[in-house]
Chain length 496, copies 4
């Protein structure tokens, strides 16, 4: 991974230094296992581990030797054995019984495990921070949006809860995939203990923190690891979904939140006024990459017979890079959320701008219930509400005219710009009023005849003759009524 | 493809009926070629083609036979030969010289070619319609957006031109990939004319509209077709980019355009007020699918030696489905654009809402140029403009207070909602005024000291003592000045 | 999915008929839940469910209506409600409280669950059959292969065990992903129970077999389903790995097994002698498709705010198609394995053809151990064994000559073909003999000097002066010695 | 990319040093263009370019500054401007007119172009080397294989030609995609020349080697580059196809070729006899990666409105990595092919091992033609040939017995191994003899009744009473007859 997105822990874990140390640990575990099982003297293990752990592996020496013999594990053995007294040498590499992947597989699984550590930790922190946000914005009323359109009322705290739950699902998924890291193998060149003793495998793996996978070939099934790559990709995808939500809320006009912007930051070389959502946009890039890496790893299931080595190059690149991408993404999102600038005022303005449509579902339900005695069908209740919602946004005749024939010159456009700029803002109308007053009008956008509308306005008049209905109707536009059940979510998710 | 997204032409082209007809055409072309080359009598071809073209292929018979012998081409031969008099039979299937893929390859390439027809035609129409849109909205001034933020001025016509050009690139790419469809092969079981005469191949392919690909194996290299799949996927991706732009502009609040909404359409079962951008959202689903199908086809390059048959199942599914998806997407987008409801009034409102920031780049440039004599650096010109842009959006103290400590109860939220609803809208300030009047203020969001600001306000005062500067400054906010070069794009792209 | 690969159960589950029935079940569950909770009278539920379950949903009517209003769920409601007496109508669709996806989400999850049924069942059967194969071929000795090269001895039963274990991992993975299907939602348009009562959700979901997912938006997080798609893809990939192993073993020359070939089957229209591994090759096509579909589903995580509808088209296509592909693949592989023609004789011939190299690892280990007293290093033990292995395959001088300068005309080639055909087959030499007799020779392929080889031959002579060494050496080539631990695998995996 | 697969040129091209140098070249080209157009004095350009080209860009300084202001292009401007005398500073960065991507886009395209150089060069060399191989092995007769089965005769030279042609298609495709690199843009923040003069763009781009792309937004359409990623991926896929062919031919038993094996190389730490096809297997890993990177780049088409920056992170990683992978793959394959060890002797042995089936197609055709007068149908000709082909491989009764009931103990297996080892090799039979002598026999594998077989043997006897038929029949097994048309391929492809 390039410096810009590299995560220090991941770089360390996947370094040659760490890899070779882990290889050495496998080698020593095998010798220790034999000592425990009484197959060799304990002194052999103690002396050898003392010497080898005391002399750092010479990575340069190893690289040079590897380039000569084209076999990295053999080069490693040579590097190590040269530090041993002659009588100990035969014991190294399992008395010549091991195949390369007996050494490499436990090391590889441990690198995956080690890499998972910071991912889980940072993801948990992020989830925890979303909990804090949910609490902080528990009463920040806003429009929920579906299809980009204002839908019903919610709070920003509730949106944070839904983000929280996405990541909870991801964390649960990630934890399930750890199951594949329980196993390893030291079962010889084709997995049937051609020369190694199954007892030694079991004991050595126990020392290293694994159980044997019975039925390995030269390598472990890559099926064990694929779900982990899927879970990592999924996390980045979720983060990108959250990032998209932030980008959508940060659009200029009336932003409801914005990603943090440094006091010395420059948004654009050309346009000094810009506060760009670059961190959130980067998350989309990360998601594209994560998916690519996940796809590479999925392909690693395919190998020939007792193994071929296609998977090796992919694993050297795609695993660390996928971890870099995942961890970087979690950290960026944490930074974005911790610095998120939230505008509860604009959230309210969006609610107001909906002209009461935020309660349209309840209006329809109200009309269906109350209208039945006046011969109004459920379908008509729907159409009345829809018509009212269209009526409130109907343009003035000039605007309508403009929509039909747009400017035919820059002059016209310039003139309109000046005119609009000075135009007094007319008082908006709300669906509540239209319906209450029975003022439905023909809309060019909907199929509703004059005669129907007249009838509907009549029925509305009848409904609101009953003061109880008026009271009930007023209530359904209130924050208390519409958000009455959000507490349930807080209770179930956060236990508060 | 499921009915919902199926395109009639594509279904027809990839039907068994059409495929087997094309197989027959290959068979007949070989016989015709031999007749032309004098290797057999012309009467053989005439009689055989007369009979076979006269008797439709019995698909049911063929399917049944295929299920018995697990060989679709042999089953086809049997179906056909049974209609021939004994003396003609030996001539069919190239006198036993052909292998299945000698017959299938030309048919397959022709199915690709045939499928390309409606794609190119519909894509060209769509491009043409975008040209119309560019003309229609040539003067519809709007904010260009980068990073979702208002950037500089443009017209909607110009945005249409950029969409136009994306699709032009795609169409050019698509046309380049047709090169791969020029070639076919009738060169025997392993491509070295084991029994068939290269002259016969050449002549038969000529009849079918192809040149021989020298160096085929049993099959043609799939490398020939992969770019076509890439080009189709690219088209759908571009359409999805356009669809995203439409979705972004259609967000409720102040939509600048919306996808067409039927007069009898229902947006949501629960929420009657909704005008959802479902067609444009579907485009994203199409893009996800297109990419999946393209990936499947890319893998088809891999085969063993002179061929194995992995590619066959993929090609039966992924090619027609990719064509369905591409053609459906083009058609949906055409419908969306033809019915697009455009709000030039809201476009202007967005410009106004930017508080003059649409000209911030020019302001900075102006200050850099004019300020130099007053000791203002380019860097300072940048910071002055940035500060002015931040100043115009600074909240009132109450709002600032609310941002810092959001509501602590629904009551508070409800109260604020009511208050906001009744609050008189304050007259907005514009960067033009701040700069012209030298009224820069401290901003909590930017690192700029009191002393610097004071100095800057002073310099601004000095600059605007010169009436020429005032005039020049006023000009840079005008539509004419900022859009002076858009005509160049119309000229270069549309030749107008 | 096209007919050819379609699985009847999956087609049924994803049919409109089944989908709409499941929608109805959600609707009825909500009403039943209300009755249970005492919110409505039980009679309402009983009467309504009686009527609706008694009248099949008219798919044609529904399709027509959907095409008019562009809203499939509303069209469904209209189709159903028309069969109800007026007084019952208001109760349908949760008294106007539900949003489409309150109805569709439980139905969708149930379709996934239902589709999983046959997958798990058929996969379990396949795993069981592999157990039978492992037993049947427990003593069928063969070469294990790594990198396509003969490696060490194993049995075909053991290879079956490794296939068994791959699929066991897949089945375990699949089962883990079922966790995502435990949850559903009936929590309204944006998931905060705008109009629906959380108690009703809980009860209705219980009836349908789910728990509520707290923190849904309009829809459930697609994160819940992505691992399932991963697991299905993984299964097909594993099957393709097994299929590749079969293709590799079935290569003509000396096949060790072959896929079943029907007694009336035709291998090739041109080449009657062919027994092609078409079913196994098709598995590769299936894997390409499975990966494509999995990628599409992964993308479905991305959606805007409280939902946009990108995922819908993808889910209509990719989920059923992924299930078709997975189930078809499992069935094809079951058919292939049940009919697999196994050649234990050729397996043995491969062992013999390895010229004793199957024990090379043990030879090296033996030499390292025995040679130490004669000054032989571990490195030299390696090089001796390598040299012996290269010596046994050294060509005759004529062949060597041919390799250096290949034929310069077809005449030469033809002559050689005739000569080779009549050449008596020379008795092969084995590494056992070379080493035992100390007959190592210079090899052009390895860097080993005359002087070293002479020394090594001397040491070998010394080693084999000891009859105990001779006995031990002979033993390491025996089947008993090399396969001594395979029983462990049977014991651990099959418990026998 | 990790060191192991990194290509020095690509690393250099994508280094910060080179990138920033290219940015500087864009900046200078704009100034030069203005000088040429007479908009500024030539001296400005000469002095500035003299200074800046003389002072290397301080990468450390730049990185530090970027981390402060989070804007790499602005940090670059600051680094450069500090070296300029005050009076020159305003001219840099196009007198404040440019946006970052006006500078970066031409640089980016040039990096793509520069990276293409070594790819095309190395690919051309590889193609050229395949031409040499085709010449060298023009007469090396071998079995063509379809479905892994021996099919018909060809030469190894011809297989090299087919590989050659795959790469030719790839190279042609690659060249077509260069079209997208002809264009660039310097058209301002949203692509409509808000402040920059189109003439300056045109002239500056001319200096840099580009034409303007009219209709850009802030950035160029990524549609221009996607086909290039596709072409690079395609190359790696093709190389993997060739690598697979080599792996298949190198399988131990009777290898027809092997990848080069160093004289000091070690195949396996455990198994000294191994010559593993590790380079060719790595190619499969490369193909997996290439596809992943290509997918990432495909997604870059999607962006919002006049641009968002998702593509940036992907392009920093995926493009150089895709080039590394492509170039590494081409070089590895070149090394493999240049060192390929070819065994023409084993190629012939494979032909012999096919027992004459290599001519089965011609046999069938011969029988269909000759048999017609004796009442033999084409279908029967097929079945006779198929039966003969099955007859020649029928096992001895003992072997048949073994196939039906495999060993029930290791003892049995061991015994059989010893027996097989000593068994005299029986003289093989050939289909030529069976058919010539009319010795077809019942086969348990095919549905052919005794009575049919008897009839067929009779007809065969009649056919071969005619000495002309005997002569013709003999001929169809000859190398000359079967390869008579291969020369055509050499002529068309290599012009020889």
């Amino acid at each position: 991974m390039i410096k810009r997105y590299e995560q220090a822990e991941i770089t360390g874990i996947w370094s040659n230094q760490n890899k070779l140390n882990l290889w050495q640990e496998t080698e020593l575990a095998v010798i220790q296992a034999k000592a425990i099982l009484g197959q060799i003297e304990e002194g052999v293990f103690l002396e050898m581990s003392g010497i080898l752990r005391g002399i750092p592996i010479d990575i340069e020496w190893w690289l040079k030797r590897d380039s000569e013999i084209s076999h990295d594990l053999n080069a490693f053995i040579e590097e190590r054995v040269r530090h041993l007294p002659l009588q100990l040498r035969p014991y190294f590499h399992g008395e010549e019984e091991l195949t390369s992947y007996d050494v490499e597989e436990p090391a590889f699984s441990r690198m995956l495990k080690m890499s998972l550590g910071p991912v889980k930790e940072n993801l948990s922190s992020l989830i925890h921070f979303l909990e804090e946000m949910a609490r902080r914005y528990r009463y920040a009323v806003m429009m929920g949006r579906t299809h980009g359109q204002g839908a019903e009322l919610q709070t920003f705290g509730k949106r944070c809860l839904t983000w929280h739950q996405l990541l909870e699902v991801d964390l649960t998924t990630l934890r399930m995939t750890e199951r594949g890291l329980r196993y390893s193998k030291i079962s010889g060149a084709i997995g049937n203990y051609g020369s190694i003793d199954p007892q030694v495998e079991k004991e050595a793996l126990r020392i290293l923190g694994f159980q044997p996978f019975y039925g390995a070939t030269q390598i472990l099934p890559r099926e064990l690891y694929v779900p982990l790559a899927g879970a990592l990709c999924q996390i980045v995808k979720t983060l990108d979904k959250i990032a998209t939500d932030i980008r959508l809320g940060a659009r200029s006009g009336q932003p409801i939140y914005q990603e943090p912007f440094g006091r010395r930051q420059k948004g654009s070389s050309r346009m000094p006024h810009k506060k760009n959502t670059i961190s959130n946009e980067q998350m989309e890039g990360m998601a594209r990459m994560a998916k690519g890496f996940q796809g590479m790893i999925m392909d690693n299931i395919e190998t020939w017979e007792e193994r071929t080595i296609e998977q090796s190059s992919v694993e050297r690149v795609a695993w660390p890079d996928l971890f870099h991408v995942a961890l970087h993404s979690i950290r960026i999102m944490t930074r974005v959320l911790k610095g998120l600038v939230v505008y509860p005022d604009n959230m309210l303005k969006e609610v107001i701008d909906s002209r009461g449509c935020y309660a349209a579902g309840e209006v329809k339900k109200f009309l269906a219930k109350k209208g039945v005695t006046f011969g109004l069908s459920t379908e008509e209740a729907y159409r009345i509400t829809q018509l009212a919602a269209f009526n409130v946004f109907e343009p003035s005749p000039e605007v309508q005219q403009l929509r039909e024939s747009p400017f035919s010159s820059l002059e016209e456009a310039n003139e309109a710009l000046l005119k609009f700029q000075q135009m007094p803002i007319s008082t908006p109308i709300f669906i509540k009023d239209i319906i209450f007053k029975g003022e439905l009008r023909i809309s060019p956008e909907l199929e509703a005849a004059e005669v129907d509308i007249k009838k509907w306005n009549g029925v509305l008049g009848q409904i609101f003759q009953d003061p109880a209905n008026v009271k009930e109707f007023n209530q359904i536009f209130s924050v208390f009524y519409l958000l009455k059940h959000e507490a349930k979510l807080y209770q179930e998710i956060l236990g508060i």
